[in-house]
Symmetry: C2
Subunit: 310 residues, 2 copies
């Protein structure tokens, strides 16, 4: 049942950097994407088309996309939560757009002041326009494993959003543990609801590592045959030193596990570790990837030993 190949969607440049306190220049973002695609990332979520009033970190979206030396075979995606965002994104020639809705009614009300149903209905014209332009539409179901306001979120609540996303024509359904509280069986229960309505290749997992559970949750997802996951280079999306860090699972940690299990991802782990070290240096802080840090340390030790022997 376990897949032999896994597709990782690299969300570091978007979901990662959007949630870092420190601003990063467009030039550094472009360099990061270049390093990621050189390291074998084949799907990259590059930026967001949202109001710069709300997300100033992504105000340089068109600049970043225009500056990319695109690599054949790599799919680039962007977040477009409304028609204005989609219209701005269309000329930039991306392959996919991403919309998102919460599985928690409390979260929806608190954050966007409307019901889940209303929030998803607003994406209907976005999905239609994206399809008309030949773009694939991915949805992220946020708070699918828990909510900071209501606490537990049930599989029924997840399935309700899955059905709403399907009703507006979304092509791919991501189950997102936004606050990282999920554990393996609960993750399986949530994914099973998405799998009732979407084919295996169109269901993905998006796990934050806040409680250290992300790799275990990916392993549990593999057991269901799920083989698409969002990951973030260097665990971008929450400083490891900040209280309540809520970073995404680190790409390096996931690739290390999958390669160790004989599951192909297409990545060059050494090059990924370099890309993680690069963006960590730009941010002026250590990587949140345990495998990334361990592999860098091992490499330095080998270099020191070689130097001593020379």
């Amino acid at each position: 049942m376990r897949p032999t190949e896994v597709t990782l969607v690299e969300v570091g440049p978007r979901d990662g950097l959007q949630n870092e306190a420190q601003p990063v220049s467009a030039a550094h973002k472009i360099e990061l994407v270049h390093r990621l695609q050189a390291a074998g990332c084949r799907e990259i979520e590059v930026t967001s088309f949202v109001s710069p009033k709300w997300v100033p970190q992504m105000a340089d979206n068109t600049e970043v996309l225009a500056g990319l030396a695109r690599q054949p075979g790599v799919r680039y995606s962007v977040l477009t939560p409304n028609m204005k965002g989609l219209e701005a994104a269309l000329p930039t020639q991306v392959h996919e757009v991403v919309v998102f809705g919460a599985a928690s009614e409390a979260f929806s009300q608190k954050n966007i002041n409307c019901s889940i149903e209303e929030s998803i209905e607003r994406f209907r014209p976005v999905v239609a326009a994206a399809h008309a332009a030949g773009l694939k539409v991915r949805a992220a179901i946020s708070c699918a494993l828990g909510c900071p306001y209501q606490g537990e979120v049930s599989p029924d609540e997840v399935e309700r959003v899955v059905l709403l996303m399907k009703a507006i024509g979304v092509d791919h359904c991501g189950v997102a543990d936004t606050i990282g509280v999920g554990t393996p069986r609960k993750v399986q229960a949530a994914l099973e609801r998405a799998l009732k309505h979407y084919p295996l290749a169109e269901v993905s997992g998006h796990f934050h590592d806040t409680y250290g559970q992300a790799l275990a949750n990916i392993l549990a997802s593999l057991e269901l045959g799920v083989h698409v996951f969002d990951t973030s280079i260097a665990g971008l999306g929450g400083c490891p030193y900040a209280k309540g860090a809520t970073g995404n699972v680190a790409t390096e940690d996931v690739v290390y596990m999958l390669q160790g299990m004989g599951i192909a991802t297409g990545h060059d782990l050494d090059a990924l570790v370099d890309a993680g070290a690069y963006i960590s240096e730009v941010l002026g802080r250590p990587s949140a990837s345990r495998a990334g840090k361990a592999l860098l340390t091992r490499r330095q030790r080998v270099a020191t030993a070689a130097g001593a022997a020379a």
Copy 2:
């Protein structure tokens, strides 16, 4: 197949503190053990009986054991790598002693300058004397998933040590990923070799989180029915800020996962988080437990909200 109950052996006071750079006083160690047993730890590896020349951090072994207010139902164990250590440990009234041998010939030669077979043969009188005194003997097979000198370690090499341990009468066999390089399938392959020669209840996993793989490896072990694991409060055993940190998997992270899966461990997670915060403060550094940090942050947020509402 998955167990409904799991036994965690708390190794923070021994394997954890032994590998921390900073010395901790006997009084702080005693307080830590008291907090751990109050939080539901039922098996605690307290200290080592090794030469203080080699491990000065454990030179206070008899002082710590003498200072414990022992709790009925809690089993206390100590590391006794030779007869001198065992003889010193016997009057302290522990329940179990621990010996260890590497699965890697290169590691054995480099570290103790003898073959694996010789190293384990030396434990024969220790095991006999421990049994004569009514103590259970656990063995840890170190470097079972990889070695800093030889790299890969095969399941055959693990099985060889399992058989040597069995031959000298060891009661329980722990498969230890000392440098944290293991991934789920490799962990299962190593455990399966131990399970060929020891019953399910007498095989355990000991995973370091150096590459972030420990929880996934525990999940993979549960699939085999393995239900005993070593864990370390606050991930003691490697400062999270040091290069090449090699801490044990954090007890809090494991308990969070198991409780989320409906698997009983007997722990009070809140009290564990407090015990982890206590020893982290003693060491003057943040906890290496992600769940520990996240739960503390959540608690502070709730307290702040309650204060604002009052």
